[in-house]
Symmetry: C2
Subunit: 458 residues, 2 copies
């Protein structure tokens, strides 16, 4: 019999780029979280849209599952080939097609990491601001509608994607969007593929917005008597028109974990890490406005840094919070919750999360993207103890129930993947039939990243 690998070698005639070597399969069998891995049958490394189209057309005829793979940094099992088949590793679609400073935009292939685009943009004084933490690929970031610390100012991926090249399940290539900054031409297919997690099509190229790097940037760390005061201060800053580019919350216990890990003495109180950027005069005005607003909410410590090095030092606690957690729990797997709630509900949601984590005796750090009402409870899980995983999931259940009861969402930014399918059904039960119809429309044979977003019904 002809093997799948041999068939694929007809389409991608390069032994090194169609691999079933164990180490390559293993390297594409898992993500960075608690989700159980599974080996694919073969990993293909296409170098062109045509190769992606050829592989998909073949897989579609033969009913072979295909899982698109970028940097493998997503957090809900998106890249795990739960039904086996082909993993399509897009990391060699790594060409920055062009950077057009006069248009404030760039076109890149899907496998370009965000750091590479930022390096190319920086030489024109421009930046691509979406910052999910990891150095993800831009195709992967679009596929999961990634966002992160700068969303409060710039929006997430859906706001940045002007145009896409997408290969559909049958190998058809379509190009939704345009190079115009705005359009009202036809149904928003571009926005539909953003966040579709590789289940409706494979993104091969993207045209993205770029932004000026602010002339001046200030970083602030401010601590507050309680989580509510910190959150209210953040919302007041945003509402006042201060040019907030980041505003992150760490709760008191998270600061304590960082102190322990880094041997620091930061005040163990709910703290905001704030950044704003603009002209020199604008930033100076924003700093005063921020300090005043923080004062209204009883801020008892307000430090700021204007120079690059000082800013990096000031953000240290935020950046090290996940490492602080990992250091407390060597050898454990990680899980991150991801609910978002309306801004006014955030204090109660964060306090509820801390109380429930404590009640369950769980080691947890809590980090909030306060401007988006989105926060993560990062947990560690003993991979050898199924009851531990069940307990962590039960905590997440509680947080999702709390968020949905207040008009929130089960996923602010990580997406559904494998881990939140039941939550999506809770949140949008009325929409599931239409989700399924969209899936059938674009992927009638169900080959594209099966088992993600929607429960498999065969």
């Amino acid at each position: 019999v002809v093997t799948l690998r041999a068939e694929l070698l007809e389409l991608v005639p390069d032994e090194a780029r169609v691999s079933d070597g164990v180490s390559v399969l293993e390297g594409h069998s898992a993500d960075l979280t608690y989700h159980a891995g599974r080996m694919p049958d073969v990993v293909v490394f296409p170098t062109s849209t045509e190769e992606v189209a050829a592989v998909l057309a073949h897989a579609n005829r033969e009913r072979v599952p295909v899982v698109p793979y970028g940097a493998g940094s997503s957090l809900e099992g998106h890249v795990i080939p739960v039904a086996g088949g082909i993993v399509l590793d897009l990391s060699r679609l790594d060409r920055i097609v062009d950077v057009r400073p006069a248009d404030l935009q760039a076109t890149v292939q899907a496998g370009v990491p965000r750091s590479a685009l930022n390096a190319a943009a920086a030489s024109h004084g421009l930046q691509f601001p979406v910052d999910p933490g990891a150095d993800a690929t831009l195709g992967g970031m679009a596929a999961t509608n990634a966002s992160g610390t700068t969303t409060v100012r710039y929006g997430g991926m859906r706001a940045q994607v002007l145009a896409l090249e997408v290969v559909l399940a049958d190998g058809t290539v379509i190009r939704p969007g345009s190079r115009a900054v705005k359009t009202s031409a036809g149904y928003d297919l571009r926005g539909l593929f953003v966040g579709s997690e590789g289940t409706l099509g494979v993104i091969t190229e993207l045209t993205l917005r770029l932004y000026g790097i602010p002339e001046h940037t200030v970083a602030v760390r401010a601590s507050f008597p309680d989580v509510g005061a910190a959150c209210r201060a953040a919302v007041a800053m945003i509402g006042s028109g201060v040019m907030v580019t980041r505003v992150e919350l760490l709760d008191a216990e998270t600061i304590a974990a960082v102190n322990e890990y880094m041997d620091r003495t930061y005040a163990e109180a709910p703290s905001l890490f704030i950044e704003f950027g603009g002209t020199e005069a604008g930033v100076a005005g924003d700093l005063e406005a921020t300090r005043e607003i923080a004062g209204w909410e009883g801020c008892d410590s307000f430090e700021f840094e204007t120079q690059q090095e000082g800013r990096a030092r000031l953000w240290e606690a935020r950046h090290n919070s996940f490492f602080a957690l990992a250091a407390r729990s060597p050898g454990k797997a990680s899980m991150s919750t991801d609910v978002a709630v309306p801004l006014s509900e955030l204090p109660a949601a964060v306090e509820f999360a801390r109380a429930r984590a404590d009640a369950r005796g769980r080691n947890a750090v809590i980090i909030g993207h306060v401007g988006d009402g989105n926060f993560h409870v990062a947990l560690t899980i003993d991979p050898a103890d199924p009851a531990d995983l069940e307990d962590a999931k039960a905590l997440n259940d509680e947080l999702v129930e709390f968020a949905l009861a207040r008009g929130g969402t089960c996923s602010g930014e990580h997406g559904i993947g494998l881990g939140k399918i039941a939550y999506l059904e809770q949140e949008h039960g009325d929409l599931i039939p239409y989700y399924r119809a969209l899936k059938r429309l674009f992927d009638p044979n169900g080959i594209l990243n099966p088992g993600k977003i929607l429960r498999e019904v065969r």
Copy 2:
């Protein structure tokens, strides 16, 4: 035989709200443009989502066309009942459900005009910034993905809509989105209904973002040696991080038309009308940065105003440009082109438009939303002269061809409606089969606003 009106009175039992009176039918037969009107058979004024659902379920069973109607201010014939049937006038769904300042959001019924939401938000120091000019309804603005002068800063409607209540063709009510500011939960149906122009469902309720009203605002009028210099200055201002909230271009001939109409002596040169807002210090810094950038591009007149009254006076020429055109052409119908191009292509596109309008001997004003690469050539058309309409359409054909060849779009903000169907086919021929599939999925009997966006195929 039972008439349609009698059947609808069973569902909406109020004689005054199910009308086939000639004046009511006439009042719902046309829009504000050159598009030929057509009388509906009946106009229904629902006051609840349940009534909308009942009317749609009935119409779907009986295969009666239904055209949703807000303020009637759209510009591509969206509200014209070209196949007769029911016009669903949503203006009595006019309740502001709630304004939640601590969440920076509000929930409104679809028939609420944007002025009413702004009045309610202003008492909390907040605003709903999307400004298409007309006092459109928020449901209509979402249905057409409206934008306008403030898009450069805040984005258009798709960026503001957090959640929707939508009634589908069969009367099913769905609620895509949530009250969280961001979400990655499931396929983006919310974004799909935004801009679907009433062809996939009828929007009955919206949850929208609100923004702080900037403490200080400055308006600037700056004139330049040529359109290219004006456009480059605008892009440089945006790229520099100045908090531009509006940046509008009028070409020299448009200023001349305003001078003639208003008896003014504005410099008859390409001019930018710029507004920026923020803290007092920020605005002062932005004003200096703006002046410096304008200077690089040879700006020969730079005026600014910081007070409300002075700002209004300064924007006078921009606000009166369409009236100036109408005054030159009494009794004529209007047409507005709507292409958008990448920012670097805007000068050439505007100059091409002026040259072609002049070559055709057409009276035209040209207004650009420079930060979006979107501009309008407003034309007047003799309704009694079919050749005049053909000539105006031929001009639009030329502009669309020019824009598409440069990666642009046929519609920056007005939508497709009746007037741009052929252009949409030119721009997104590859997507039309999927648009049709989406239409069949949500409206299998084709009752919803037939003949808009997509050519009717029966």
